[in-house]
């Protein structure tokens, strides 16, 4: 009797099969795969797992399938440098002179406003509600300071001029990519990478070394510039960026957090009258500027009572 195939050998073969499925199988290969899989139940599991791991790293093609148009246009995937070259190019060192940022142009949005700002290099800055940013481009650098709020940057490729977004104690540096930075009261600074790569650096002298983020990463930074990274996948990042379409995707968010989030977009306020209700979680996609519609849907979902008094919407058990 032949030795039992180890699960490690199965994994190696499953990874190659997954790569082959990813390329596209001919009828003959399909037959070979069926024969391979049907010989051992573990092979079937290893293949399912290999495909799942492969999907975990899915990039913009998922986005292409779920969002037919690209609202801010411009950057095709092909415009990016090859991954290795990009990774190497990102090492560009640069000293940020805060004084230089005093010049440049400031952009703001009012509560509930969403504003797309084309920049002179072909990049786009999409400013979310109640946000403020200063843009200062020079020959060798493209600097943006996010003073408050949230912005999504769709960066035109220019390896000679790094694009650096500074906010609080963090620099986020890109060559050609798409990422968002949010600086909100009471929450840690947050960076989401939608496409390509970015490097983040603390600006303090004793800040930790550069952290390299790929598409699908969700990073938060402490005030000291310590960065915590989570690879959540591109689909999750896209959901968190639903605000670019004026929507909020509340996937398992607590009611208290959701109420706080809605207050950024409108002067109508949601007040939760019992702390226990605030800990309940809600899901769904809602219009960012319509907290009343959200409150009614949440009341329905969680069996709560809703009562409106002027600009205040009360939710209670």
């Amino acid at each position: 009797m032949a030795l039992r195939e180890t699960s490690q050998d199965i994994d190696i073969a499953a990874a190659q099969w997954a790569a082959q499925i990813d390329r596209g199988l001919s009828a003959e290969e399909q037959g070979q795969l069926d024969a391979w899989v049907s010989a051992d139940v573990r092979r079937q599991g290893a293949l399912a797992r290999a495909l799942a791991v492969l999907e975990h790293f899915d990039g913009p093609q998922i986005e292409a399938a779920t969002h037919s148009e690209r609202p801010w246009g411009g950057l095709g995937r092909r415009n990016f440098l090859a991954g290795g070259a990009l990774a190497a190019g990102l090492g560009v060192a640069g000293v940020l002179l805060t004084g230089q940022l005093g010049r440049g142009r400031e952009y703001t949005t009012a509560k509930g406003e969403l504003r797309s700002i084309p920049l002179e290099d072909g990049s786009t800055m999409l400013l979310n509600t109640a946000s403020r940013a200063r843009v200062h481009f020079s020959r060798g650098r493209r600097d943006v300071t996010l003073l408050s709020g949230e912005a999504l940057f769709d960066v035109a490729k220019d390896p000679a001029r790094p694009f650096v977004v500074r906010s609080q104690a963090l620099d986020v540096r890109a060559v050609g990519t798409s990422f968002s930075v949010s600086r909100l009261p009471g929450r840690p600074l947050q960076v989401l990478v939608r496409e390509g790569f970015v490097d983040v650096n603390g600006t303090a002298a004793q800040a930790p070394p550069t952290t390299h983020l790929m598409a699908g990463c969700w990073a938060t930074a402490s005030e000291a510039g310590d960065v915590d990274v989570r690879h959540v996948g591109v689909p999750t990042v896209l959901r968190a960026l639903a605000w670019r379409d004026g929507k909020l995707d509340l996937d398992g968010m607590t009611l208290a957090y959701a109420a706080q989030t809605f207050s950024r977009y409108s002067d109508q306020k949601i007040v939760i009258d019992s702390p226990a209700a605030g800990r309940l979680t809600v899901s769904g996609v809602f219009a960012a500027r319509d907290p009343a519609a959200f409150a009614h849907a949440a009341a329905e979902q969680l069996n709560l009572k809703v009562r409106q008094e002027g600009r205040v919407i009360h939710l209670a058990t």
Partner: protein, 187 residues
């Protein structure tokens, strides 16, 4: 035989993140003649083969229960185990609970290591994988861009994927790096 895209997506989103916890739980319940890796592969096979998953409220608990039933089936087949030995594999309620904040932090660090792992892949391997998965080029376009054959691209992606599969298994750099070295030794 090949799971649908939807099922693959469900596994990637709802099962894969719990795999390190499942493995840790399985290791504490070592059964002679039954490897953790085997149970995990069989668990994925069951989840991939289910007719529907929409009714599953907690995929994490479902995966643990599936693994438990696989162990029990092996024990029954072995027939040498007394019935009371099965108490050892009883599911402890806390094992399938949702992760504590501390565990979530550590899972976060694990995932960070996985992202780091991409940058540690051999250069060609990393370039092929990045072009295909991050930038979304087809394997054919990757081949053209890199000036290599399509079958070489496929091999690079297979190798990269296997390394990443190892990372998901252990959820840690040290072991994943060790497995990289192993692979270099083998090939």
């Amino acid at each position: 035989m090949i799971p649908s895209r939807d099922r693959t997506h469900w596994i990637a989103r709802h099962v894969l993140p719990h795999e390190p916890a499942l493995r840790a739980w399985l290791r504490r319940r070592a059964v002679v003649g039954l490897e953790t890796d085997d149970v995990v592969q069989e668990t994925y096979a069951v989840l991939a083969g289910l007719a529907a998953v929409e009714h599953i409220e907690s995929p994490r608990a479902y995966a643990f229960q599936t693994a438990q039933s696989i162990i029990l089936r092996h024990l029954r087949r072995a027939r040498i185990v007394r019935m009371d030995a099965m108490d050892d594999v009883d599911l402890q309620a806390n094992a399938i609970d949702e992760p504590s904040p501390e565990q979530q932090v550590s899972a976060r660090q694990d995932l960070r290591r996985v992202a780091d792992l991409i940058s540690q892949l051999p250069a060609k391997c990393r370039e092929a994988f990045t072009l295909r998965k991050i930038e979304g080029l087809s394997q054919r376009d990757v081949a053209q861009r890199m000036g290599i054959s399509e079958s070489t691209v496929e091999k690079h992606i297979g190798r990269a994927l296997h390394t990443l599969m190892d990372a998901f298994r252990y959820g840690g750099t040290a072991v994943a790096e060790a497995s990289l070295e192993n692979r270099d030794g083998k090939s």
